[in-house]
Symmetry: none
Subunit: 203 residues, 4 copies
C-alpha cells in the first residue's frame, strides 16, 4: 500500500484513520494551494496529525501524493473494469481517449496530477512505482483492447502494443503537460484517426 522501503515500523500498529486523513488532506490541499505551496506541515495540520506520523510511513512528499492517487484509484475500483469493446476499434478508442481528455481537463484532478507528475519527474523510484501500480493496470486494459482488435484482424499481429498505446496517449499527455495546444475531444478524435491510419494515409 505504501511506497516506503527498507526498515519500516511495525505496520500492524498503524492507524488507518490517520493514514486516510493524511492522504485525503494531501489530495485536497494540493488542489487548493497548488504544488508549490504544498508542505508536509500543511498536510499534517489539515489532517490533524503529527508530522512524525507522515515521516514514519512515507519517504517523501511525492510518495504521499502517490498513495493519495492510489487510494482514489482503488476507491473507484475501475481497475478490474475493461475498456468498451463494441467491435469498432476507432469508436472505442475515441471514447476512451475522450475520457482521458475529460479527466485531464477536470479542474479537480489537474493540479494534483501535475503535482504527482512533478514528483515522478525527479524520482525514478516513484516513477517506477507509478508505472507499475497506477499507469500499469490502466495500460494493460488499453493493450487488452488492442489485443482484441488484433484477434479481430483489425490490427496486425506484429504491432508492438506498448508502442501503440504510447502513440495514442503520448500526444495527449504532452498537450496537457505543456499546454502546447487546446486539449479537446476533437483533438482526441484526430489523434485516434491519424494514429490508426498513419500520417501518410489520406483520411
Amino acid at each position: 500500500m505504501t511506497t516506503q522501503s527498507g526498515k519500516s515500523p511495525n505496520p500492524t500498529r498503524r492507524s488507518e484513520t490517520s493514514r486516510r486523513a493524511i492522504l485525503t488532506a494531501a489530495f485536497e490541499l494540493v488542489g487548493e494551494v497548488g504544488y508549490a505551496r504544498l508542505s508536509i506541515e500543511g498536510i499534517a495540520a489539515r489532517a490533524g496529525v503529527g508530522k512524525q506520523t507522515i515521516y514514519r510511513w512515507w519517504p517523501s512528499k511525492g510518495a504521499v501524493l502517490f498513495d493519495a492517487f492510489l487510494m482514489l484509484a482503488e476507491g473507484r475500483d475501475d481497475g478490474s473494469a475493461a475498456l468498451p469493446d463494441t467491435g469498432d476499434l476507432e469508436t472505442d478508442l475515441r471514447t476512451v481517449m475522450r475520457a482521458t481528455v475529460a479527466e485531464l481537463t477536470d479542474p479537480r484532478y489537474d493540479e494534483p496530477m501535475r503535482a504527482l507528475t512533478t514528483e515522478l519527474l525527479h524520482d525514478p523510484a516513484l516513477a517506477a512505482a507509478y508505472t507499475e501500480r497506477l499507469d500499469g493496470p490502466m495500460k494493460e486494459l488499453k493493450r487488452e483492447r488492442l489485443r482484441s482488435a488484433q484477434r479481430a484482424g483489425q490490427l496486425p499481429d506484429e504491432l508492438d502494443l506498448d508502442l501503440a498505446v504510447e502513440m495514442l496517449w503520448g500526444p495527449v499527455r504532452d498537450r496537457w503537460l505543456l499546454r502546447s495546444g487546446p486539449l479537446t475531444p476533437e483533438y482526441a478524435d484526430a489523434v485516434v484517426r491519424t494514429a490508426l491510419g498513419g500520417l501518410c494515409s489520406r483520411p
Copy 2:
C-alpha cells in the same frame, strides 16, 4: 530576452556580465545538485551576484532557467538551420528523432530539462513563453520538413502538421518524462515507422 512582464526596472542599465553569470550558474547548478536543491541563493552565490539582482530581473526560478535555456539555444544558433531533407522522409525523420533521443539522454541536459519542465508544468505563462520561444522555432522546422514531404506528395495535403509533429515527438517525450520504457534510437525508429504507416498497416 527576459520573461519579466509588468513595470520593470530600466533595462538599459542592466549588467550584461551579471546576466550571463546568473544564467550560466543556474544551468550548471541544476545539473550538479538537481532541481530539488536548486535555490536562488545558490545561483546568486555561484554567479557572484546579489540575490536582488536576480529578483530584479526575473519573476521566478523557472524564468531564470528558461532564459538559461534560451541563452544556450541562441548560442548554438541552430534556430535558422533546417532539418535534413534528402527526399527520404522516413530516414530524415529517424535522423532527427534519434538526435532528439540523444539529447534527452545526454546527462548534461537531462536534469536541466527536467527542472525546466517542472516549472513549465506549474506556470502557464512560462509554458506559453516556452512554446513560443524555445519549442516553437524547433517545431516550425519540423513542420517545414513535413510540408516539404507534402509538396513531394509523400504526405496528404489535409494532414494537420501540428498533430503530426506531436504524434512523432509526443511518445518520445513521454518516455523521457516518466521513464516508462527504454528511450533508445530503436524506439525512435519504431515511432517514426509506425506513425507514418499507421497502427493498422502491416510493416
Copy 3:
C-alpha cells in the same frame, strides 16, 4: 556646518536646496516612522535626492540627524538669548527646567531626540560634536546664570558650575531617557529645590 571630516568635495558647488531638503526630511521622517525605520534611502526618497548626495556630505545617519538638529537650533536663534535672571535663582531655574521638561515631553521632539541620542551613544565623535555645538552653547547659558548667582552671593565661588548644571539637568534627562518616572513640571521644581538645598537640608 557639517560633521564631515577628512577630504571633502568642493563645498562651493554644494546645493543648499538639497541640503535643507535632506535635513528636513530626516527630521520629519524620524518623527513619523521612528528611529528603527529611519533609513538613508527613505531620507533620500523623501527629500527627492540621490542617495549619493547624502553619502557625499555626511559620514553617517547620525551626522545627518545631528545637522538636522543644528539647523533647527539655528533657526530658533536662541543661541544668543540669555536665561531669565530675575535675581531669584530658584524661580529662574524652575522656569528653565520646566521649559526643558516641556521640550522633552513635546511629541514632535521626543522621537527625533531619542534617535539623535542613540547615535551619540555609539559615536564618540558625534557625541563630542554634540557637546560642543549643541549642548555646549546651552550649557554655557546655564553656567552663566549660575555665575550671576555667584556674583550675587547666592552660590559659593568654589562651586563647580559644570557639576552644578549636571546635577540639575542630569536627573531630568535620566527620567526622560529611561522613562523611569513621571517627567512633570513638579519634578523639575523638586529637583531644583533639592539640588539647591542639598539632600540633608530640611525643606
Copy 4:
C-alpha cells in the same frame, strides 16, 4: 524570566541549553562587535541555534539583551546584598558611587550596557521591564541606605528618596551616556558631596 508577552509557545518544552547559549552569545557578541553590528543571525550562529528559536522566545533583539543582563545579574546574586552602612553616609555613598563609575568604565560592560540602553530608549515596554527587574532592585537598595540615614537623623524624613537617588546617580549616568566629561572616582565624590550639601552650601 522572559520579556515575551501574549500567546507564547509551551514553555515547559523550552530548551534551557539553548536559552543560556543565546544569552551568553548575545552578551559576548555585543561586546566584541558593538551594537551596530549585533544581529539576530550572528547571535544564533554563535550560539549554535536556529534563528527561529530566538524569534520563538523573544520579541526583539533588545529583549534578548535584557534577558542576558538579567541572567548575569542573577548569576552575581547581589540582589539580596545590602549596600555598605558604616554610619557615615557620605563615605558609604562615595563607595557605592565609585563602584558604579568603575562598572560603567569597565570595557567589558560598556558596550553591552550602551546597547541595552539604546533598546530601552526606543522600547517603553522594555524600559518598564528594566525599571522593574534590573534597575528596581538596585534602586531599592540605594533607597534603603538613605532610609537608614533618615532613621539616624542624617537626612530629613520628608526627603523624597526616589528623587534623592536620581540626583546622585543621574549626573553619573549622564556623563557616561554622552561622554560629556571625564567619568572618574573624583567626579563621583564631588557629586555625593555637592548633592548632600546642596549647591548653595560652602564646602
